[in-house]
């Protein structure tokens, strides 16, 4: 299938990275869609956890918030938020965490806190929430963000959650044993940190996208790996599954709007 939107490609590319053995800490938006597409296609036994405390959820529609009733109704069990962060996240039980943000730098550090100085911000963003500890305690991190000059910046005004810090072995030097961001999945391409420098590097370009588009939409001089492939286009099943769950979600949210 070549009739898909860039966001659909991003979501489906993310879903492919997940397997039955994954225990995922899911965020709202693209990660939630990606995880549930994986669950409904190639990874039926994947475990999805939302930070509201719901473990092993199988939502029929995507939640608007991290704590929608649907998540609890379909969960294997639900724990308190302190337990979620202590036993499950800090306990090292999560294989894959998803993050996103307003801004990212070349070492996959993220900012969701402020634009401008912290004490006198130009734009006050929502803040980090679970991100600082998701970034350090999950086995690996996937980041989903649309590629844009505003989002992919040379220097972050604030590091909300650390990716590869200043690059190289910075994580190890700070005592972290987890991998950190291993994939950044955008609407145009997929990036991976370079094995040594940890600088994000294009490894896969989505169908129909040019290198020029990627360069133009990145705030730093973006590097390409020596071998760059084309991201396989969404299969019919992937696309149908994503569109179905999005349609069910729209319908459910509309119903709740009418009932309100």
């Amino acid at each position: 299938m070549t009739d898909f939107t860039p966001t659909e490609m991003m979501t489906i590319a993310a879903s492919r990275e997940l397997s039955n053995d994954d225990v995922c800490f899911v965020g709202i938006g693209a990660p939630s869609a990606a995880c549930n597409v994986a669950r409904l296609t190639h990874a039926p036994d994947i475990t999805l956890i939302y930070e509201s405390g719901t473990v092993g959820t199988k939502p029929d529609v995507l939640p608007l918030s991290i704590g929608d009733g649907e998540l609890c109704d379909t969960a294997l069990f639900t724990v308190s938020v302190p337990e979620m962060f202590r036993y499950w996240l800090q306990g090292g039980r999560i294989t894959t965490g998803f993050l996103g943000g307003a801004q990212i730098d070349r070492f996959a550090n993220l900012n969701t806190t402020v634009v401008g100085p912290y004490d006198h911000p130009k734009v006050r963003l929502p803040g980090g929430g679970g991100a600082p500890e998701i970034a350090s305690n999950c086995g690996r991190i996937f980041i989903t963000m649309a590629l844009s000059k505003r989002g992919f910046v040379e220097k972050l005004p604030f590091i909300t959650s650390m990716g590869h810090g200043e690059g190289g072995d910075h994580r190890e030097r700070l005592g972290m044993k987890t991998k950190g961001p291993t994939r950044v999945i955008t609407d145009l391409c997929i990036l991976e940190p370079d094995a040594v420098s940890k600088e994000l590097t294009v490894v896969s370009i989505h169908h129909g996208v040019t290198r020029e588009q990627i360069v133009e939409n990145c705030g730093w001089p973006i590097k390409f790996a020596s071998r760059v492939i084309e991201t396989p286009v969404p299969s019919e099943v992937e696309l149908a599954t994503l569109r179905d769950i999005n349609a069910r979600t729209r319908k459910a949210h509309q119903a709740s709007r009418e009932a309100a």
Partner: protein, 286 residues
């Protein structure tokens, strides 16, 4: 033993100007009716605490009831910004707002430490993040056995915690179910506590011996406010109004439309107005 009293009395007796107040609820069971009563009674200079200040705290900040806020994520979930919160931080309207910002893990641990009567909480946290540079309440502690350095934050000990729950019995014992968030910890960490409930029943009848219960002697006041969590939800009673959350973006973006909304829906309203939301659309899991 908890006193079972009308909401106006519970707030009047237990929430004072200048108090540190936690109105908790992680998407679920957010105590909207109680928060509106705080606004109606004109409380001021409150220091608000909450992991996920959402619309309710946007409202408290927008009317100028708060001098400060301790939080870990201040947004409208799945929708975007809290415009009143942003207006306070970016433009000091209607008054400046002192902020103390943490991560979720730190806040959750800090409530837990408060409930456990510890002076601080420790966590494997904030590694490589900038918050410790701007928040002097993030320090460190060294393990006396391994010499590992961990992050440390002060325990949260609110003057008063306010939560919403499914039901209480006539003695004031309270049952919470579903996404229970940090509510139990927030109540046990506080000097005083108020719980609004959907129902008051003869027998609490928890479904499991290990259900989440707050005994009457650990709660200060219980008030019967059906629908009191709307537009948040009460598992087993009514669903979240995602539509309200989406609609709030428009209302709160503008100071005048916000102020008009508050006058009509808070100042000129009462706790009984929440009852129309109770059970209107039965929750799936009822």
């Amino acid at each position: 033993m908890a006193k079972i009293v009308p909401l106006a009395e519970a707030i009047g007796d237990n929430v004072r100007d200048g108090d540190t107040v936690a109105m908790e609820g992680f998407t679920h069971l957010i105590p909207y009716a109680a928060g509106h009563e705080v606004i109606r009674q004109g409380r001021k200079d409150l220091f608000l605490v909450r992991m996920t200040p959402d619309i309710l705290y946007d409202q408290l900040i927008g009317v100028g009831a708060a001098r400060g806020m301790k939080f870990s994520w201040g947004g409208n979930p799945g929708v975007g910004s809290l415009h009143r919160f942003r207006d306070a931080v970016e433009n000091q309207w209607p008054r400046p707002l002192e902020i103390e910002e943490h991560s979720h893990a730190a806040m959750a641990n800090a409530y837990e430490a408060g409930a456990a009567n510890l002076p601080f909480a420790m966590l494997r946290g904030y590694i490589g993040a900038d918050l410790p540079k701007v928040n002097p309440n993030i320090k460190s502690v060294t393990c006396p056995f391994t010499s590992e350095v961990l992050a440390a934050v002060p325990a949260i000990r609110p003057d008063v915690t306010i939560i919403h729950a499914q039901r209480a019995d006539r003695k004031g014992n309270v049952l919470l179910e579903g996404i229970v968030g940090v509510q139990k910890e927030a109540v046990l960490a506080a000097k005083r506590s108020i719980v609004t409930v959907e129902e008051i029943v003869d027998e609490l009848a928890p479904p499991s011996p290990n259900s989440v219960v707050l005994p009457s002697w650990a709660v200060t006041a219980v008030s019967h406010v059906p629908g009191g969590a709307f537009p948040s939800y009460a598992h087993g009673y009514y669903p979240r109004s995602n539509a309200f959350y989406i609609g709030w973006d428009e209302i709160a973006r503008d100071r005048d439309s916000f102020t008009a909304w508050i006058k009509e829906n808070v100042l000129d309203a009462g706790p009984e107005d929440f009852a129309r939301h109770a059970g209107k659309t039965p929750a799936k899991a009822a």
